[in-house]
């Protein structure tokens, strides 16, 4: 057992951090806020060229041939940097929607009664049916319950026309409300339940990155800001908030990384639950530590909090995750040990494992 990042995985992570530092620095983050989150297509293509979307496609299909553990590291960096866009949906659509792997196409997803992100800019939409993800008694463990349909072209145009744009709480994520609940018009195609779990895990990885980033920001501010003649981080009332932030982040990290290695639905549910909580609560504490400045538009912390709220509501909610994890308990419980039981197999861990 060696539950540490391999050298290749460390290199991948630092490479992604360097790339985002170069192509999506704070200036570009704030510029994205000023244009209400409208996507930068050239940035999207740069991500595609770097293999962000094609990461888990086999090499013979033009992909990078890596696995979920590596994908989780990239999404963690994306979450740290507040990288906008339907990253999870486009990553999952690679190999299924033309241009997704290369970053030529923007693919978003709509599910349940959540607002749809970046709908007007999307070249294709994954319409996901069912209560995501399956696993509870009464759920049918087949493609019927949780398949997805890909909409593009005219069908997409009609779909978008029927949707209503809303003023989004998150300045980095333009949202549409759908006229009714999204119902696929045809038979589910490429995906089944595994999509929910993979999407939940990659979203959890973004939450993890955000939670770690707001911890760093809080610690930095607490070390610099002086009141009563001392850095506020020397006061236990403040430093204990910071300690609790790390005590949320590190268990969530262990859960997210482990879930990426095992693909176990219960572990993915645990990872999403803990990463959602870490991202939202850490952003709240970071905001509190920043005092009045934390309540301003100028500080970045509100961007983390709003995005974390949206991600927490996506793919696997707290209520659903807790029910799945309850169903997993006891002699009567136990979910299948692999999300492969729900359809498309989770790719094998690649690289150095």
């Amino acid at each position: 057992m060696d539950f540490q990042l391999s050298d290749d995985q460390r290199a991948l992570r630092s490479g992604m951090r360097d790339l985002l530092g170069a192509v999506f620095d704070r200036g570009r983050l704030r510029a994205a806020v000023e244009r209400d989150g409208a996507l930068d297509r050239s940035l999207w293509r740069e991500l595609g060229a770097a293999g962000f979307f094609a990461l888990r496609l086999p090499e013979e299909a033009g992909g990078v041939g890596l696995g979920l553990p590596e994908a989780v590291l990239l999404f963690e960096e994306a979450g740290r940097a507040l990288l906008p866009g339907p990253l999870v949906a486009t990553h999952l659509a690679a190999g299924l929607v033309k241009g997704a792997a290369e970053g030529e196409a923007v693919v978003t997803a709509v599910a349940a009664d959540l607002p749809a992100a970046h709908l007007a800019e999307a070249d294709a939409v994954l319409v996901v049916d069912g209560q995501a993800p399956p696993g509870l008694p009464g759920d049918v463990l087949s493609g019927d319950v949780s398949g997805a349909e890909v909409l593009s072209g005219e069908a997409l145009g009609a779909f978008v026309a029927a949707a209503r744009p809303v003023r989004s709480v998150d300045p980095l994520t333009p949202l549409h409300r759908l006229a009714g609940r999204a119902v696929p018009t045809g038979a589910p195609q490429a995906y089944s339940g595994a999509l929910h779990y993979e999407a939940a895990l990659l979203t959890a990885a973004e939450q993890l990155g955000s939670a770690a980033r707001t911890t760093e920001a809080a610690v930095q501010h607490a070390g610099e800001r002086h009141q009563f003649g001392s850095p506020i981080g020397s006061f236990q009332a403040v430093k204990h908030l910071c300690a609790d932030m790390l005590a949320r982040t590190e268990p969530a990290r262990a859960a997210v990384y482990a879930a990426a290695v095992t693909g176990d639905p219960a572990e993915i549910a645990a990872a999403k639950l803990l990463a959602d909580e870490a991202a939202v609560r850490n952003a709240r504490d970071c905001l509190q530590i920043h005092g009045g400045m934390g309540f301003t538009w100028e500080a970045d912390v509100h961007l983390h909090l709003k995005r974390a709220w949206l991600r927490a509501a996506s793919w696997l909610t707290v209520a659903r995750a807790e029910e799945l994890l309850a169903a997993d308990l006891g002699a009567a419980g136990r979910l299948p040990r692999s999300s492969a039981a729900y359809g498309r197999p989770v790719p094998e861990a690649g690289g150095g494992g």
Partner: protein, 384 residues
């Protein structure tokens, strides 16, 4: 990131399982929790079985009589013994996990030969004389005095929270040898024989009703100077060195036990119908996430210490902070599962609920853990 165990690790696990299956039926009946001599006999008999089978001092270095096992092997050992229902380290705790490693790291060859083999064989047990009534979280404020008189120190003072004091052979004792020095620099580490004249042990009753620890009064107790480990006034460093033996494995058995309890709570709630309450169900589901994550965090910490050969970085304090709170939540949930039976001390989980209240206090309160996390890991300035 590889969660699979190597062939050698699985082989170690397989041999251990075989041995446990053969050895555990030979254990005597569990003694009454209030019968300390019987508890000592039971715990030391188990230690002797481990010794004879080659599992004693698994994590101690080979040159201290240990097995020099890797942190992962130690993790497997703790996981498997807990799963098999083997006895806990019990009365051997201080000798095996603190005093012994301290002597192994800082003692002379003579001191190691004198004190370590009896610990490994289960012949002698140790207790810990660190905390005092006025030195708890601020341990370095301890005031128990040791005054040199010929070849002896004459020790006078009071210690508290000393587990197994009534039945211990030795006490690892922190004393003040230089009252004029800054508080961390005037402390020495002594091995005090518990049968020396001048020692009075008074058991303390916990809120769970049992006598888990004691006060120890020291009235001019003579301790030979050759029982000092490390240099005079260097006792604080000597003690802290031992903490680096902590390799992320401290709570392995407990996390395994908590996960089993959580499964049993779900079964019980399904049996009684309380499972139909979605609030309770979701509460148990959340605890499933917490203990799964704590298990994975343990594996991460053990892997890290295996790589660095030293202390887990983020590990110990973050883990303890989270674990101690979650364990208390586990038994709060248990009380909800029990309903009206939660007030019957003889029902399973009720005493555990009471005992769990010490978790956020013992071995560094959660407030001290937060200071450690904030100052030593996050680098925030010291202060109040």
């Amino acid at each position: 990131m590889d969660l699979a165990y190597t062939e050698a690790e699985e082989e170690f696990r397989g041999r251990l399982r075989e041995w446990l299956a053969a050895a555990l039926p030979g254990l005597p009946a569990k003694p009454s929790p209030d019968d300390w001599p019987a508890r000592r006999a039971y715990d030391t008999a188990w230690q002797r079985m481990l010794y004879d089978a080659g599992y004693a001092g698994l994590h101690w270095p080979a040159d201290a009589g240990g097995q020099g096992a890797t942190p992962t092997q130690h993790l497997i050992f703790l996981e498997e013994t807990e799963k098999a229902g083997a006895p806990y380290v019990g009365a051997n705790f201080v000798g095996l996990l603190h005093a012994g490693p301290t002597i192994a790291a800082e003692g002379t060859a003579g001191q190691r030969a004198r004190w370590l083999p009896p610990v490994l064989r289960g012949d002698q047990i140790w207790c810990q004389g660190f905390s005092e009534p006025d030195a708890g979280s601020d341990l370095a404020a301890l005031r128990t005095r040791a005054v040199r008189d010929g070849d002896d120190y004459v020790v006078t003072g009071q210690k508290i929270w000393t587990s197994h004091a009534e039945v211990a052979d030795w006490c690892e004792l922190l004393v003040r040898t230089d009252p004029a020095a800054p508080k961390h620099r005037g402390i020495s580490w002594l091995a005090m024989p518990m049968d020396a004249p001048g020692i009075t042990v008074r058991p303390l009753r916990t809120l769970a009703g049992s006598t888990e620890f004691a006060e120890v009064f020291l009235d001019e107790v003579r301790v030979p100077v050759r029982n000092r480990v490390g240099a005079e006034n260097d006792g604080w460093r000597v003690t802290m060195v031992t903490l680096s033996f902590e390799r992320g494995t401290a709570f392995v058995g407990e996390v395994v036990a908590c996960r089993r309890t959580l499964d049993a709570l779900a079964d019980e709630a399904r049996r009684t119908g309380r499972w139909d309450d979605p609030v309770l169900r979701r509460r148990l589901g959340r605890l499933n996430a917490e203990f799964r994550a704590l298990w994975r965090l343990t594996q991460a910490n053990v892997s890290e210490s295996e790589r660095t050969g030293g202390v887990p970085g983020v590990g110990g304090s973050v883990f303890k902070l989270r674990y101690s709170g979650v364990r208390q939540e586990l038994y709060e949930a248990a009380a909800e599962v029990l309903g009206g039976d939660a007030f019957d001390v003889d029902r399973e989980w009720v005493l555990d609920r009471l005992s769990s209240l010490s978790y956020t206090i013992a071995a560094g309160t959660s407030q001290i853990q937060r200071n450690i996390v904030a100052e030593r890991i996050l680098g925030l300035p010291k202060g109040r």
